[in-house]
């Protein structure tokens, strides 16, 4: 069974033109530089990069651009609409500045998304590469993997946070447990193909050890699909975290997250629609930016990536 991320990766722009670089130059181009050059010619990738940069800069400079404490209550300023009384994004039912809350929320979303991606990169590679390379443990690992993937993703994450209790750390843990099997599957698929390659056989014949073969010959070539997967995963993690905290199972209020700001704003949908609209749009920009980045990376790094059957 494929994960939702695999379908995401098998998406739209597989026919984007990949101009081969025909120019003959005296300088030898490193593959790395060529990839970067191609990426910077990919319009959708640049668009994604732009959208992500907005959120990234906002999140990183939170202290600087939103110095007002996002949890400071000021009842006499409540329900200011955006732009009123100097509140750029208005205020919520407690008079807290939405500008501050949304920007600090960006920081938290990115932190959680990045943590889930990092854990996936490490453990997904570890599990996927072991299963694909050491065929003896493949079956056992993949059965557990299949079982974890059989659960509806959000439902499993909710059950895990229910057991561990709602907090930022537990949200990261729950989302990692949900998504690592999907990442592992993708790494395993490329490792299985690569280990049969002749150059790997040659390395075996030359007497290279397992560790060296994996590290030097297999993993570097398995990186492309992994990177594509991780960029889509980042978006999925941000989205799932927002869902968890919208349901009251993410970071505990008053810590602002986009999800819990929207959950609180729900009751004031009619009189103060900006409380849900602004974090909603921020969330959309982030996820769309990451999806566009993923599309771009897929086109450039791995134009042949399709749905693995």
């Amino acid at each position: 069974m494929n994960g939702p991320d695999t379908i995401l990766a098998a998406g739209a722009a597989d026919d984007a033109p990949l101009e081969e670089e025909f120019e003959i130059s005296a300088k030898r181009q490193s593959p790395w530089r060529m990839t970067v050059r191609r990426l910077f010619r990919h319009r959708l990738f640049l668009m994604g990069l732009g959208l992500c940069s907005i959120i990234l800069v906002a999140g990183m400079l939170a202290q600087l651009i939103a110095p007002v404490d996002p949890t400071r209550l000021a009842m006499r300023w409540k329900f200011r609409s955006p732009g009123m009384d100097g509140f750029i994004f208005g205020t919520d039912n407690f008079g807290r500045s939405l500008w501050s809350r949304v920007i600090w929320g960006a920081q938290l979303s990115l932190y959680i998304g990045f943590s889930v991606v990092a854990l996936n990169a490490v453990f997904g590679t570890l599990i996927g590469a072991s299963a694909g390379y050491f065929r003896r443990i493949d079956n056992a690992l993949m059965r557990v993997n299949d079982a974890l993937m059989a659960f509806p993703a959000i439902l499993l994450a909710i059950a895990i946070t229910a057991v561990l209790g709602p907090s930022t750390f537990n949200a990261i843990l729950a989302l990692s447990i949900v998504y690592i099997p999907r990442t592992a599957r993708i790494v395993r698929a490329s490792v299985i193909v690569l280990r049969e390659m002749e150059y790997v056989q040659a390395a075996v014949a030359a007497g290279a050890g397992h560790w060296r073969i994996l590290r030097r010959h297999i993993l570097p070539n398995a990186m492309a699909p992994l990177i594509v997967q991780l960029s889509f995963l980042f978006g999925f993690a941000v989205l799932s975290e927002a869902t968890l905290s919208f349901l009251g199972l993410g970071a505990v209020p008053p810590t602002p997250t986009w999800g819990n700001i929207m959950a609180e704003g729900r009751q004031y949908l009619v009189e103060a629609p900006w409380i849900i609209t602004i974090p909603g749009i921020a969330l959309m920009i982030t996820v769309m930016g990451l999806n566009l980045l993923g599309d771009g990376l897929r086109d450039v790094l791995d134009p042949r990536l399709r749905i693995q059957q």
Partner: protein
């Protein structure tokens, strides 16, 4: 076909076994004493002892596991703390509500997602293609609960066309069901439509590049016939497997959408169970829902074998 069916059913046993082990183990991850977590702060020591006795918490781990499986095989998933009812019974009442909603979303997804994906592939690199892909990109980027809130604001609050929430059972009043389910189904469907449109487009493009399509055109068949008979039938085969993922996404999405629109399905039930620390309910609900998805996937494997003769002959 029977070979595929048998293989698929047999293959699901280890998955179900591990799924049940994970759900069982999950309960044991509760930090501290599970009986205290279940009983709550106000529970007396007698009540706690009763809970421990009922769940067999004082037994050794292996005995607990055996007891749990014994009950499971008799269809006994325990009693909900929140509602005092049998977990399986409650689940059987709530699950159909979610399935109906998911099916509605699936119909919308198949109609709009397939159509826009096929159209985009046939009109590759035109305005139609670009528009379809922009919508698909929006679809996979907008969180369902945000879309739901925006729809409530527009269609329920401002225009007053649809109720803001609530639920009318399908068999009681189909029109009422449509009125209460359309916004939730649309919020669920948007993500899936986007996914399906993207995947349909790339599969169609792949198929249209094949030699047999060129041959069919070269022997003078009209384009329309080639598209419908040669391209579409072949492109649909991999798309069938996507349906399984879409149903899984629907059930996941239903968690938040049902809470948003107060629809009494599995999603709302489990969210409330989680917030009320109703562990038997969470455990049982998770297990039944996942078992249901495993069964859906068996059916999809069989459908796949029926549609694709290559699978049928290769594997049997």
């Amino acid at each position: 076909m029977w070979g595929v069916a048998r293989r698929s059913i047999l293959g699901s046993f280890p998955v179900l076994l591990i799924v049940s082990l994970i759900t069982f183990g999950l309960m044991r991850l509760i930090p501290g004493d599970p009986s205290a977590a279940i009983g709550g702060l106000s529970a007396t020591s007698e009540q706690l002892a009763l809970i421990r006795l009922e769940l067999g918490l004082d037994e050794p781990f292996v005995v607990q596991l055996a007891l749990w499986y014994g009950e499971l095989l008799q269809g006994n998933l325990g009693r909900s703390i929140m509602m005092g009812q049998d977990v399986l019974q409650v689940t059987m009442i709530r699950l159909p509500v979610t399935i109906a909603l998911s099916l509605y979303a699936l119909v919308l997804t198949l109609l709009l997602g397939l159509a826009s994906g096929i159209l985009a592939a046939l009109r590759q690199n035109t305005v139609i293609d670009q528009l379809a892909m922009v919508f698909a990109m929006i679809g996979i980027s907008v969180p369902s609960f945000f879309l739901g809130l925006l729809m409530i604001l527009l269609f329920a609050v401002h225009l007053g066309w649809l109720p803001t929430g609530g639920y009318i059972p399908l068999w009681q009043d189909p029109i009422g069901w449509l009125r209460t389910s359309t916004m939730p189904a649309l919020s669920l469907a948007l993500l899936q439509m986007g996914l399906l449109a993207r995947i349909t487009r790339s599969t169609m493009l792949e198929v249209l590049r094949q030699d047999y399509i060129r041959t069919a055109r070269a022997k003078g068949l009209p384009r329309r016939l080639v598209v419908v008979k040669h391209a579409l039938t072949n492109a649909l085969i991999p798309i069938v497997t996507v349906v399984g993922i879409i149903i899984s996404l629907s059930i996941s999405g239903a968690v938040v959408v049902e809470s948003l629109f107060s629809i009494p399905g599995m999603g709302q039930l489990l969210t409330q169970a989680v917030l009320n620390r109703d562990y038997p309910m969470v455990q049982g609900g998770l297990l039944v829902t996942t078992a249901f998805l495993v069964m859906v996937n068996i059916l999809i494997d069989i459908a796949y074998a029926i549609l694709d003769p290559r699978v049928r002959y290769e594997r049997s």
